[in-house]
Amino acid sequence: MRVMIQLRPAPDVVASVMDTGAASAAGDVAGDLPGVAIDEAFEPVAVPRPVSLSPYQRMQFSMAPEDASVLVRGEIADGDLATRSALLTSSVREVAGVFADPHIQPHPVCGGDGPVGDWQEVRRLLHAEELWSAGHDGEGVTVAIVDGGVNADHVAARIGHEVTLDAQRSWSPPGVPARPGRHPVDHGTMCAFDVLLAAPKATLLDIPVLLSRREGGSLADGLLSDALAAYAHLDRVLRAMPAESRALVVSNSWGLFSPDMDFPPGHPGNYSDNPAHPFNVIVGSLEGTGADILFSAGNCGRECPDGRCGYPDRTIVGANSHPAVLSVGGVDTRGERVGYSSQGPGRLSERKPDLCAYTHFAGSGAVGPADTGTSASCPVAAGVVAAVRTRRSAADLSPAQLRTLLHRTADDRSTVGFDYDYGFGVIDPPAVLAALARQNRTRAA
């Protein structure tokens, strides 16, 4: 265990530590401390002594060499820790105390924090230019934005190029006016913008399930049955494509926050934990027909969960944790997991999230200063999937094979291999391209 050791050496030694013109070595100050491996790279630090003239006065501190102490850093074997610490303080006169030196980490980005980086930086991090020059720009690939409606004009104005949206193959739930690509600027518009960061030439479908107005619904939610009907539509869209060139990516930045409206786990009608729920069945069926389905992991991460989160644990629920989908967590542009990104294990499939993509950056301008939540990281990853699909149809590389490729090539974070914070790591398009190139060479040989 790493420790900080407080020493009270002779005043001339303290004075030399405080002398900014002379570098002090930790070994010179600490001498030989039995059982402690002193960190020579850590320069000793003088620490003032609190002195109180009277209990009624504000605390004062003295840096006089005869008062101040010196801190050095070292390591004590874990098994020896208690005994060694006690021995040091009792038998070495200069040792005033032994303190823990825990690993500290920056506080993760939370919901209310300002943007970290912008969408141009996300494009750089995704090596988008590299993708495009290799012909992976999303052309000919259909991406369904299953969300709250897209405003294509806003996306085009913001991103600076034309947006292709197929109104004919878009779909609206019953009761929602069909105006594909012309919805008010909001969450679905953000999703569309974020898809186009990696796949600017993808063809978007507008599937505004969250606009469904059912009794008791708020302004931005729908019912799961609306999503089910949307998936039945997408199944028809996919089957209408020639089998050898199918390329449909489905981006879902929504989920179930609370068990209140669900049957409890174990009940045959339950959704959150039940692979036999019709929506979970149709998700598996659509993936089996060749669709790449991506879901946001959710915003119920331990450090700063969304206020709506009602599950005490295993917060990646229902289709967001389906084994046949890519569950996407969120990292900021520094590669650090955002504090609200839900952690695994998932409920339908334990090893969730699958991977992370970028979020919390200044982007679409559709929902405020930042594109936030795993709502943003999901379409960013969906754009990468669409870019890959430009040259590899589902007949050539099945959705399951593509997920494995994305797992294998993700930039591993945290512990070695899969972990419940980052999944397999951060999505890494250049590594995907390299793996695809290797596959091509093997096939050609």
Binding site: G111, G216, G307, V367
Partner: protein, 71 residues
């Protein structure tokens, strides 16, 4: 939502007849949605869901879904 087993070309009317429900019990706009071969879903009122025979239909939760924006 409730799930019934019917042939692939079945209609909402076929499902309602099978379950002994009236037109008012179901959401006609939603219709009869195919989920998997032989399996279809329809949206009915809570009261109708309580009435249907569990031998003919399975009742499933239809929870509200919300965007995963951060707040």
């Amino acid at each position: 939502m409730i799930q019934v087993r019917l042939p692939p070309d079945a209609t909402l009317g076929d499902a309602l007849r099978l379950l002994g429900l009236s037109d008012d019990d179901a959401d006609a706009g939603f219709g009869l949605v195919p989920v998997a071969p032989g399996r279809h879903v329809l949206r009915v009122t809570d009261e109708a869901a309580r009435r249907v025979s569990h031998e003919l239909a399975e009742v499933f939760a239809d929870p509200r879904i919300e965007p995963d924006d951060s707040s």
